[in-house]
């Protein structure tokens, strides 16, 4: 390891056959085998083992770290008492942070790291660092024990008559197979049957498209060309018990295109003066699609990047979605408000087995 040592080695490499290198424990090496295990090396003492002064120094370091930990805990308690929970301070480079969170975290870290570093330093400098071997034992029992246990097993099996009395065995297996069924059955009331719940939304013929920000019905003149507006069905309130379930299906986006830009004939038929309404719920796994690019009429789902072309029947043009966004047929009523002409014709949201 030392400079001079390796220099000597290099000066006359010819004389240094490997056998002479296994200085310690060379007796373990197989004679004549240069690759044999040289055996456990002799223990090298640390400074702390031979110099009491160094050991005393280590002791002071360890004690100092433990003391630091105590100070950390005191700082933790002090911070808890003095900082109000809503006090924010500027700390470079973190910016404005909660004084309480910062001081509690740092003091807790000091308290914990003090114990940790102290204990590790103690182990590394003051406890014995002598490595020692320990024998391993295979897990396998010897043949005699194995035979003995197998005989005991056979004896027990014979006494139980499990193999002989077939009726007992068969009925027991039957009973044990059936009994977990009760655990399955009892979970039944976790939820209702699906029925046709996923096929219907809160939209129906004549229901006005409500602007969720103003709670007022949307009128065609509210929607300029190129803009995207969201809408929810008339009669649906945030306070409703089932509001979240209803909005999860009924969320709607309304876009005005130039009628000549609409490529899909059905889309054009279901629109009103170029205003088209599509389900906002992505047909992939149900995120609300909401990133609208007005030049291309593409709408992108921010979750998995499925992209739909709103000028072509909301056809999927990219991403993992499997089918178009359902369109809601709209028109205007006597008061000039946009209204739905019916519920969605196909289920909204992610596909499912019964969707067809």
């Amino acid at each position: 390891m030392s400079e001079t040592g390796s220099h000597n080695d290099m000066a006359e490499p010819e004389e240094h056959l490997p056998a002479t290198h296994g200085a310690h424990g060379a007796e373990a090496a197989v004679p004549g085998d240069p690759f044999a295990n040289p055996g456990h090396p002799e223990h090298e003492y640390r400074r702390q083992d031979i110099d009491e002064k160094a050991a005393k120094h280590s002791e002071r370091v360890v004690a100092g770290l433990f003391t630091l930990s105590m100070l950390g805990t005191l700082a933790f308690i002090t911070s808890f008492v003095i900082f109000p929970v809503d006090k924010y301070v500027y700390i470079f480079p973190l910016g404005h942070v909660s004084a309480l969170n910062f001081s509690l975290g740092i003091s807790l870290a000091v308290a914990l790291l003090g114990i940790g570093t102290g204990a590790v330093h103690w182990a590394r400098t003051l406890m014995s660092d002598e490595e020692m071997p320990d024998d391993r034992h295979q897990a396998d029992a010897d043949d005699e024990l194995r035979a003995n246990i197998e005989a005991q097993w056979k004896q027990g099996a014979k006494e139980s008559a499990f193999g002989r009395r077939k009726l007992v065995r068969t009925t027991m297996l039957g009973a044990l197979t059936l009994v977990p069924l009760s655990a399955v059955v009892i979970l039944r009331d976790l939820g209702p049957m699906p029925q046709d719940k996923l096929r219907h939304t809160a939209w129906a013929k004549g229901k006005a498209l409500i602007n969720p920000n103003t709670n007022k019905p949307l009128r065609p003149e509210d929607i300029p060309v190129g803009s995207l507006t969201f809408a929810q069905p008339e009669g649906l309130n945030e306070e409703d018990e089932d509001f979240q379930q209803q909005i999860a299906k009924a969320a709607l986006m309304v876009v005005r295109l130039k009628p000549e830009d609409i490529k899909d004939k059905k889309e054009l038929d279901w629109s009103h003066q170029g205003i088209v309404a599509f389900s906002k719920i992505c047909t992939h796994v149900g995120c609300p699609v909401s990133l609208y690019e007005q030049q291309t009429h593409h709408v992108l789902c921010p979750c998995h990047q499925s992209t739909f072309d709103l000028s072509d029947g909301a056809r999927v043009i990219f991403g993992p979605a499997g089918h178009r966004l359902p369109q809601l047929r709209i028109s205007v009523n006597g008061e000039g408000n946009l209204v739905a002409m019916s519920d969605f014709e196909v289920p909204v949201g992610p596909a499912f087995w019964e969707r067809g």
Partner: protein, 546 residues
């Protein structure tokens, strides 16, 4: 050892120390001394990589401690409330009680935010720790007999840990985590035949319903941690029972374990390390905000934030779901949602591939012997190649899971990234496998070179006749031993398929596949023959140089 026995006998003669009386009380009732006989001075070998598992153990402990604290303040309820707490931007907003109580923990409970952040950071570190620990075990072959079961215990902990994390970050019912739960609904719905029913039962009706927070809560704080604690104890018992593996070195053999005793060295080192891990996580929680639910707002199914990402360990499954083409088969009035269902099924398969590897390797190589000395990864090029290929797949999917972030940060088109990940999913692991294998073989050649010709010293020597040579320093006995200690098994032979009479022998096709795989593992293209004693003697007994 002898000194400790002496001291105990001397103290026994005198008056008993109170601690001794307690220990003897326990001994008479639970056999404490017999337990101590094999464990108190148990030898553990030292290597930095052996602490990776400890990081997992300690972060799990921190998760339990901080998790219990959080249950004291969290309300697992989806009852709607109107927020009137101190965070002004959300005042008057309707939200679930789960979200409101998480806001309460973050803004009104002193130290609540710190504990929440320690809990979340520990979860990220716990799972990262498990993956790195698993890689250590994998690349050094520590999973081999007799430790295959412990490999499975550890793998199961990782697998459950991911769902434990997912159910945990879904509890606050914020806009980001709710989006993840919505994804779960879509994934469940894609299950053929029963998907719609499962979804109804999971959410107590239609999504989102009022059930999933209490259900996730019960799973998150009781069911999964209970299973994990059991597996963890079993994992540790087996580590103690098998005794730790060790790297080859002077005095280290398959029959022994060389290191320092559990008491007092590792009680101090490992006990201290718990505080180090806890301290570092506390410091991170003090300075780095994680999961600031107040900036996201409460969950509404018709709202979403851009750049929505799951926690990192779910990222590879997110990648699978993002790059999969949207295939749907509609027939006979039913829909098979392959675009979602295939990723849902590939996700466990990717993880299972690494779980079953020990059994495949042992079957292919026919190796049924015990191993306590660790492999150097280069000496098992096929295994190392497979491991790197697996990691390549994992990280490729992780990129796919963040394709929008890669697109915005690196100004790439989302289509380019998605298509690259689609191609990379099949191509990159294969490339990584071959590259790794070649690198391993190169390193084996270098080891062989070092054994035979010594270490290059960088010193140039001019010989009397003018030739310049570089001085090579011979390795010492330990280094020679370490570089040549690994066994080099031979591939399985099925023998000639035609016997001496020209009669064709029937060979089971499975045996043929096995022999082929075995050749791949241990054939001439997969290992560089170690130097033999004769080669070494021939070179070193000559006149110094080559």
């Amino acid at each position: 050892m002898s000194t400790s026995t002496e001291t105990s006998t001397t103290t026994r003669r005198g008056p008993k120390h109170p601690g001794q009386r307690v220990a003897e009380w326990a001994d008479s009732r639970v056999g404490l001394y017999k337990l101590g006989k094999s464990n108190l001075r148990k030898i553990f070998p030292d290597h930095w990589s052996f602490m990776l598992g400890e990081v997992c153990l300690y972060s799990f402990t921190i998760l339990i401690l901080t998790g219990v604290y959080l249950t004291l303040f969290f309300h697992p309820s989806m009852n709607e409330v109107v927020y009137n707490g101190p965070y002004a931007p959300l005042q008057g907003v309707r939200m679930s009680d789960a979200y409101a109580s998480t806001m309460h923990i973050s803004f009104e409970v002193r130290g609540g935010l710190l504990i929440r952040q320690i809990h979340h950071w520990s979860a990220l570190i716990f799972i990262a720790g498990m993956i790195v620990h698993m890689m250590r075990v994998f690349f050094t072959g520590a999973f081999r007999k007799p430790r295959e079961l412990n490999w499975l215990f550890g793998w199961t902990l990782l697998f459950i840990g991911m769902f434990e994390g997912f159910t945990g970050y879904s509890l606050p019912d914020d806009l980001l985590s709710g989006t993840g739960v919505r994804f779960t609904e879509g994934a469940v719905l894609s299950t053929p035949i029963v998907g719609t029913y499962l979804s109804m039962f999971l959410f107590g009706g239609e999504f989102p319903g009022h059930n999933f927070v209490p259900i996730f809560y019960s799973v998150h704080i009781l069911l999964l941690p209970g299973i994990m604690a059991g597996l963890l104890v079993a994992h540790l018992i087996l580590v103690f029972y098998h005794k730790h593996t060790q790297f080859p070195g002077a005095g280290k053999t398959e029959k022994n374990v060389v290191g320092m005793p559990f008491f007092p060295i590792y009680t101090a080192k490992a006990g201290g390390f718990f505080f180090l891990v806890f301290g570092v996580i506390a410091a991170i929680a003090a300075i780095a905000t994680i999961n600031p639910i107040w900036t996201m707002g409460p969950y509404r199914p018709d709202q979403v934030s851009t750049g929505a990402q799951p926690d990192w360990y779910m990222g590879f499954s997110e990648g699978l779901i993002r790059v999969m083409p949207g295939w749907e088969i509609n027939a006979w009035g039913h829909t098979l949602v392959l675009g979602v269902f295939i990723p849902l099924m590939v996700f466990p398969v990717v993880l299972a591939a690494i779980a079953v590897y020990p059994f495949i390797e042992s079957w292919v190589t026919g190796d049924k012997s015990e191993h306590h000395l660790l492999d150097r990864p280069r000496n098992r090029p096929v295994r190392t190649g497979f491991g790197v290929a697996w990691l390549t797949l994992y990280f490729t999917l992780l990129i796919g899971g963040g394709n929008d972030l890669w697109a915005t940060h690196f100004h790439l088109s989302i289509e380019t990234i998605t298509w690259s990940v689609r191609v990379g999913f099949f191509v990159l692991p294969a490339l990584a496998y071959f590259a790794t294998k070649r690198i391993c073989l190169g390193l084996q050649r270098r080891d062989r070179e070092k054994v035979l010709h010594g270490r290059e010293t960088g010193i140039i020597k001019r010989l009397p006749h003018g030739e310049f040579i570089e001085v090579h320093e011979p390795l010492d006995q330990e280094q020679l031993h370490v570089l040549t200690a690994h066994p080099q098994p031979q591939p399985l032979e099925i023998g000639p398929e035609v016997d001496e009479n020209g009669v064709e022998r029937k060979v089971n096709p499975v045996t043929k596949v096995r022999a082929r795989l075995s050749r791949n593992f241990y054939g001439e293209h997969s290992q560089i023959p170690k130097p033999t004693v004769e080669e070494y003697d021939e070179i070193t007994s000559g006149h110094g140089h080559h």
